[in-house]
């Protein structure tokens, strides 16, 4: 099967999300769709998989024009999409999810379905268990389930939306191996939507780059197993050039003098339901930036929350400028100039339903009776200063992720002692991320110490003075960040402490 998109247009109000995009996806090839946030990748894929209609343009399947008005129609034509958060039912078992949506009779043939599921799972090297409840499965397993399910429905073109977010390196290998097998042996069309250069270079045969809703260009990728660093670097810079229209400049580390100790952790012991951290020691000085690396849920979140009173400390001490603050409330930390920013912007950091002015009032106003006109004009000024695309009276959830993060920056106090930030640039495009760091580094020059976690190695290496790598609650410190390599960090994150 071949798929061709011809002159696809899609508008959302004033935004031209897809502007005259034409592209061909041949059978048996893995094509990467690359672009920064808002480039139009998701829109294009939603059109192709029946979740949204295009305003204009044609989808040709084997040369014949097709129109889909629902995802079911698209699957009928052999096109299925794996969403970033797999569209399964948590309360169902693996088998139930597999069966639901199949053209079965009122009483499904469970035995036959189970056999199909197990065979398909084994065929792709997956590890699916028919009776496992989906709500207790990892994202990686749920992806495997969706892939197996879609293929069983006869899908010949599989779209994957950012599938490597939230899965481990090992799980990624399993996934990529399965996708390569599907494309190159079974002739399936694979479309990988991603903003991760590494992933598209490793996996894809060809990469199509979108920018501002337009198709900017196309690059053939090197053969799998290409290790020559010069070749890889060259392709990377070509792709970056296509994505952003310019190459990323090298990051210059500011030479801020490190002053007195702000935070000291003294034999800290922490535990939550899943993991345990023993005897953590750390001292952080004014103007210092320490990055926390590791896979999700390796202990970074627990540590950051314990440091500012949001999780309890089992034993050991948290000292703030020499004063024992162990197990004090977040409020008392806040009074001392310690601010925590959670990864879940809308879940923990901001309050959906409140306007930007109301957010500002919560942090800036000390008075019982609010002076709305003053707050409003203050909010307008700071929106302008922080270059937020939004109005003072907008509700926070109406803003895009990047603008929400900017609002969070605007809400921070001007000169905090210590900023504890969980994945401060998660889900942001490179430009927004860089802007956020510019703001953070300005505060650092004023003497603020920063502790942040990130999933991006580049970001950790670019901004940290030291890096703490977490693996299942164990912590390893990388003190000479300039000399570290991706390999070293990769080993540490994977728990291979001995290899270093």
């Amino acid at each position: 099967m071949d798929i061709e998109l011809r002159n696809i247009h899609k508008r959302f109000g004033p935004v031209h999300a897809n502007n005259d995009i034409s592209v061909v996806f041949p059978a048996g090839r893995i094509t990467g769709i690359l672009g920064e946030n808002g480039a139009g990748k998701s829109t294009l894929m939603k059109i192709l998989s029946g979740y949204q209609p295009a305003d204009r343009g044609d989808i040709l399947v084997d040369g014949e024009a097709s129109r889909f008005s629902s995802p079911e129609d698209a699957i009928e034509e052999g096109i299925g999409m794996l969403q970033q958060d797999p569209l399964d039912v948590g309360a169902f078992t693996t088998l139930e999810n597999f069966v639901y949506g199949r053209p079965e009779r009122v009483l499904p043939d469970w035995q036959a379905a189970r056999k199909d599921l197990e065979e398909a799972s084994a065929h792709l090297g997956f590890d699916l268990e028919a009776e496992a409840p989906v709500e207790r499965m990892s994202i990686a397993l749920r992806q495997q389930l969706e892939i197996v399910r879609l293929l069983a429905l006869g899908v010949k073109a599989l779209i994957l939306d950012e599938p490597t977010t939230g899965i481990s390196a090992e799980q990624k290998q399993t996934l990529f191996a399965a996708l390569q097998q599907l494309a190159h042996r079974d002739g399936v069309i694979i479309l990988l939507v991603s903003h991760k250069l590494e992933d598209v270079i490793t996996l894809c045969d060809k990469v199509v780059v979108l920018r501002d809703g337009r198709r900017i260009g196309e690059e053939d990728m090197p053969a799998p197993g290409e290790t020559d660093p010069a070749t890889l670097e060259k392709i990377k810079s070509q792709l970056v050039h296509l994505m952003f229209g310019q190459e990323l400049g090298p990051h210059v580390r500011l030479d801020v003098p490190l002053d007195k100790v702000v935070l000291q952790l003294d034999n800290l012991n922490l535990r939550d339901r899943r993991l345990q951290i023993e005897n953590l020691n750390l001292s952080l000085r004014q103007g210092e930036v320490v990055g926390l690396a590791g896979l999700d849920n390796s202990g970074q979140g627990l540590t950051m929350r314990a440091i500012c009173g949001l999780e309890s400390v089992s034993s050991g001490r948290v000292l703030l400028e020499g004063e024992d603050m162990t197990n004090r409330s977040y409020r008392s930390f806040l009074h001392r100039g310690v601010v925590f920013g959670a990864a879940g912007r809308l879940e923990e950091g901001l309050i959906a339903g409140l306007t930007l002015t109301e957010h500002m009032a919560l942090v800036r106003s000390e008075r019982a009776v609010l002076d709305w006109p003053a707050l409003e004009s203050y909010t307008r000024d700071s929106l302008k200063h922080y270059d937020v695309r939004g109005e003072a009276e907008d509700r926070i959830e109406q803003l895009s992720g990047g603008n929400q993060q900017r609002v969070l920056m605007a809400l921070l106090p001007a000169n905090p002692q210590l900023l504890i930030l969980e994945q401060p640039t998660r889900g942001l495009d490179v430009e927004s991320a860089r802007w956020i760091w510019q703001q953070l580094l300005e505060r650092r020059e004023g003497g603020t110490a920063i502790l942040f976690s990130s999933a991006e190695l580049d970001e950790l290496v670019a901004y940290s003075d030291r890096i703490l790598v977490f693996h299942a609650g164990r912590v390893h410190e990388v003190s000479d960040v300039a000399a570290t390599t991706i390999d070293e960090l990769g080993y540490l994150i994977g728990g291979e402490f001995k290899q270093v």
Binding site: Y51, Q52, S70, P71, E72, I75, L87, D88, V89, G90, A91, F92, T93, E96, V99, Y100, G101, E104, R105, V106, L107, P108, E131, P133
Partner: protein, 347 residues
Amino acid sequence: MNVEFLNTLASVVANATPLVIASIGETITERAGVINLSLNGSLIVTAMAGFIAARVISFGVDVDAIDMIASAEAGLIGGVLVAMLVGALVALIIALSSIELRLDQVTVGFILTLLMADLAQFLGQEYTRIPGPVVPKWPVPLLQDLPLLGPVFFQQNVLVYLSYILVIGLWFWLFRTRPGMAHRAIGERPEAAYARGTNVNRLRYVYVVLGGALVGVAGAAYSLHFKPGLSNPPAMQGDGWIALAIVIFGGWHPFRVVLGAWLFAALRAVSSDIQKNGLSVLGQTIEFNFVLLNGLPWLMLIVTLLLVSSGAIERLLLLLPGPVQRRMRSVLRSDPPRAIGTTFEVD
């Protein structure tokens, strides 16, 4: 076994029947992701409608007629059907307002429950405290002679048997059939249901209206048998709230829902027995404030909710061996349908 004890059990099963039917109806609705909070009012208004319809069909419009010889069968069937229709209409208001108008389901349900109760009082005035047809006992041939089970379960009336069929039928539907999976999916994750070709909102209409119709049957079960006739205040006042609580207690699972309803009826029987005869243990009469006993079911509900939300049940599950664990999980799972109370829209 003591005959008197078996009789007590039989009456517990009988008295629980309207609660079973109403909470099964509500389970159907909530499993589809919609909450019908009008239950208390719906029960009262359908009891009224069912009774009046049954009486009019059997004896004519004259409220003074006491011709009890007339065949009541047509009246009873007509009464139940009218009650179903009224229950379905109330539910249709909930469905329309939440699916079409995107109004808050809790608010609409609350208003309806108050409105329907008052409406029933007003429309039923003429028919209050007069006799009407009553659903007769109909022991099931063969089954009624089973030891123990026969006298408790199978010497009842048709409505009681209907409640058994509903419980087992709903379980089979939800957990064994393909349309049943779609039913659960629209209450859990409508986006996933849509992606599999399920028409979420149309199905929600179907299940909300069906659930409402069953609430109507429950209402008719009160006025045509278990608390015959109409009274002021209504005899089933408060039972709608209890049915809503039983659905939660039952973790949206038909088997646990029916257990909850029976347990509740049993506690009620015990408390009314103590009210009548006092409590005596080993020949000693114990002074007891029986009003406290009325609170017992609520205490039970709170303890259950605590067990569920503390994760104790989950930890208990993990102690069981794998295959047993899987079987028990669907019965013991106590999370509400995830999408309950939310609207679904294709973007």
